[in-house]
Structure formats: C-alpha cells, structure tokens
C-alpha cells in the first residue's frame, strides 16, 4: 500500500495548521468522545442560531488523521444548516465505510475527499470518524435542547 495515499498533502496541511481549533463560547452542546483502543480524544461544542450551526469549536489529542479530520469537519460544516451538515456527515461516513471502493463527491465533501485513502486502512477509519461522531452527537443534543425551550 502506498503511504502517500493515506497521508495526502491536504491531510498533513490540516494536521499542521488546524482550522477552527480551540473551545469557544457560547455553545448549546458540549460532548467528549474517545477512541478506547488508542486513547484519541476530542471535546467538541456546537452553537446554534435557529437552523444554522453558528460555531463548531473543538480541542483534542490524537494522530494526524483524527486531528486533520476535525479541522476538515470545521471547514465543511461550520456555518451550515443542521440538515446541510448532516448531509455532509452522511457522505463522509459512507466514504469511510466504503473500503476505498467509493468515489467521493467533491461537491459535497470538499477537502474531505483526501480521506478516501484512509478508508483502505481499517485500523485508521475510527480515527477519521472520531470528530464526526462527536459532531452528530453534539448536534442532536443541541437540537433536542432547542426543542425543549420552544
């Protein structure tokens, strides 16, 4: 297997210069997810403004794949509507589950297409998905809270 398929330039760029990193206020939900097999962890917060995700802030520690993935997630989902973000989420999860056989849609996934190579490394798929699972969890909690308040 070719290592540069896994460590694409885009991934290394996001790893070295993460976008949107750091925990910010205000937020509607705050979640902490860990990968028990390797100890990677992420804390992720979302703030909602009506239907729009007005901020995604995060902090964590882990390998280049997990940290770059969080940075790409921020770029793709921050400022989108909840539905829009969940569409990207679904596309990313599908790509990661595709064992490298799925042709990613760059329109939807943007820089996240660089993770296509990760799907060929089963041991690393969970690293890539860590922040995305945290996002889904946080969004669900934030939306539920908003409904309670209405």
């Amino acid at each position: 297997m070719q290592l540069d398929q896994l460590y694409q330039e885009i991934i290394l760029d996001h790893y070295k210069r993460p976008q949107g990193r750091g925990l910010r206020e205000p937020f509607a939900a705050d979640v902490h997810h860990v990968n028990p097999t390797c100890g990677d962890e992420i804390t992720l917060r979302v703030a909602l403004d009506g239907e729009t995700i007005s901020d995604i802030s995060y902090d964590g520690q882990g390998c280049s794949i997990s940290q770059a993935s969080a940075s790409v997630l921020y770029e793709l989902c921050n400022g989108r509507t909840v539905d829009g973000a969940l569409t990207v989420h679904a596309a990313f999860v599908e790509l990661m589950g595709g064992k490298g056989q799925i042709e990613p849609d760059e329109e939807v996934l943007g820089d996240a297409v660089a993770f296509a190579g990760v799907a060929k490394y089963p041991a690393r798929v969970k690293c890539a998905l860590l922040s995305w699972m945290a996002l889904k969890d946080a969004v669900a909690q934030a939306v539920a809270l908003e409904k309670e308040e209405v």
Binding site: M1, L12, C38, D40, Q61, C63, S64, I65, Y121, R124
Partner: protein, 430 residues
Amino acid sequence: MTALTIPAGMPQYDDKPRFDVERVRADFPILGREVNGHPLVYLDSGNTSQKPRQVIDAVARYYAEHNANVARSVHTLGTESTEAYEGARAKVAAFIGAPSVDEVVFTKNATEALNLVAHAFGPHAQDPRFRLGPGDEIVISEMEHHSNIVPWQLLCERTGATLRWFGLTESGRLDETNLDELVNERTKIVSIVHMSNVLGTVNATARITARVREVGALLMLDCSQSVPHLPMDVVDYDADFIAFTGHKMLGPTGIGVLWGRLELLNTMPPFLGGGSMIETVKMTGSTFAPAPARFEAGTPPIAQAVGLGAAIDYLNAVGMDAVAWHDKELTAYALDALDTVPGLRIYGPKVPVGRGATISFTLDGIHPHDVGQVLDSLGVQVRVGHHCAKPICDRFAVPALTRASFYLYTTTDEVDALVRGLDQVRKVFA
C-alpha cells in the same frame, strides 16, 4: 564504548550462554515473509510472539493423529489426548519450578488467571485469607496492565474493600518509599506485574515479598511478560500465585496458566461451574474436584496446551539463560541506537539493567499512530497506543506511546531497521 577488561578468574562475557539467532530464525516460517514490499521486521513480541515450526507442527500433529476429548474417555485416542494434555501440564510445572504438577491450572489466558484469583475473595470465603470486606485493602501498582487493575476494581466494588497502589518513579520503577504504610495489616493481597509490558521494568520483588509475609497477606505476580523471557522459579520468588500466557512464549493463543500454591488453590471456590470440575453432582448440590480440575470446567484448550508444551521444549532447548542474555544484549544495543534519534524520548529504565526487551518511546510532536503507520509501510511492526496500561500514560502525561518489543529471534539489524524507519517518520511529518 570503552572496552572493559574483566579480571581473569571472574566470569567473562564469553562465558555467557549464547545461541545462533539465524538458526533460531530459520525455525519461524513467518519471518520469511514480506510486508508492504519490505522484509518483515517484527518488533511486537510483547503483544504476541511468533511461532516456530515445532509448535505449529505439534498442534497440527495433535489434531491429525490424536484428537479426542480429555479426562473422560476410555478409548485409545482419549487416553492419548489426556496424556498429551497432562504432559503439557508437567512441562509447564517443570519450566517454572512448581513443586507439584497439580499447582498448574490451565486457563484461556493470563487475564482469566488473574480474574480467577480475584474471584476467590469475598465476604463469605471459607479461608480467612480470602475473606474480604470494607476496611480490607488490595494493593496493585500504577504500572499494571488493565488485566491486573480491572478485576481488582470490580472485586472492591463488590465487597467494599479498598484498592491501593504503588506509584512510579520518574525513571519508570516502582516507588517503594511508602512500602510499609501501603502494605499493612489490612492488606489481603498484593498483585503486581513482574515485568511491565510498557516500560520494560523488571520489578525487584524481594522487599515487597518480605513485607507481604510480615503482614500475612498473599502475593500474586503477573508474569505475562517475564516467564517468556527470564528463567522463572516460583519457589525462589516465594509468590503465592503467578499468571502468564502461552501466546507470548511461542505457544498458541487461547491457553494461559495460573500457578498457585496447592494448599491455597484447594481452599479456593470454583471459578466457572461445569463438567470436569466436579467431584459429584446431585440435583440438590455438588461438590468439587481438587485443583487443578476444580478450575478447568468444560473441555479445555487441549491442542493449545500441546502447543504450549512444544513451545516450552523449544525454549528449554535454546535455554532460558541464553534467551535472557540475548534480550539484555539486544536491549543495550537498542537503547543506544534509539538514543541517536532526534526528539525521541524513552519511557522506562534507560539502562539495560532491571529491565526486559521492551522499549516504549515518543517522537516529539508526532502521534504514535502516525509513527506506527509509517513504520508499517516499511515492514516494521510495532505497537502504538496505550498498551492496555492507560495509567502509565497518565502517570507520564502522554496520550499514547510507540513500543518496540523483542524476542529470541530479534536481531540488531532489525533494531537498525527501526531506527532508519524513525528517520523516515520524521521526514513525513517534518
């Protein structure tokens, strides 16, 4: 390094038992394969060891020629299987210096052996040494594998007993400064690792054993990493229980060993109930067989025991003194070699004394997963993560570590391949 001259009449380096590593390697079929276009460099023996042809053949021959269930058949195959299984038990007993073959209990792994002993403790235990409740204490250490932490935590939750532990020094050794306070009249058992699976530290147990005897507690050693690498004599160590596993010592997976003093084993309650472990069963109640059968409910891992017996034959033929010395020389070489890698920090003893052939490290600013992935692309197999010993990572404030662990088939060339690989890692993430 300056060559030291050892005075005549003293033991010389050349007197040390040695073996031909290349000849040993020829016995391990897997060492001939390639990984990602490179010759396999297997540096994950602390995780599981590779298997020599002799072990693979012994398991295959058992299935091809003798297979039957044990301890219940009058037919020829059943008798042969029982002899093979009990023969393996005798080999294990001799290998660790057990006074009686009946002190060797086969389990599925070291984890089961540790759980079995933890399970013997409780508020209603017949023998007061196993009676445990609020106010009683159990002592472990911060360098334990999760398998020697979680069973004791669960036991303390069940009984209200208190779990306490030895801390670690900065150089990765047990901090025994508070030994007399930590191990006291309330202590029921001290269960500590003999050789750390992360730091490589080999714990000197003598002072702890003396204190355990003084307060009348029991002593268990987790020997998962030490029995494969060092000569072991349970009488010498004066332990009450030791646990280890077959697959880390050239044997198959699915077979582990609990050794315990017979007198203790025979006062302990059964662990799993079922066939083979009973004396008699009535609908109104059952009585149980003495050890080891009491703890071996159901059909045991027969072929795996046979494989473990073959592994012990193999290790005995090489000689455990020679294995230990090989480990020591290789570790000394690797510690020096890794010291040349910029940004590399070793966790655990940095001298090849009181430590085994397992070295964990970090590379500045590069996550161990990424280190492991790049090394794998070069055929070098190392373990990355928290190594089922998360408290060690917490102690040294690192999220994860990269670990290289060696065995009798590991060469200095492979250590060089690791060091070259680490240069490559640094280039990718520069």
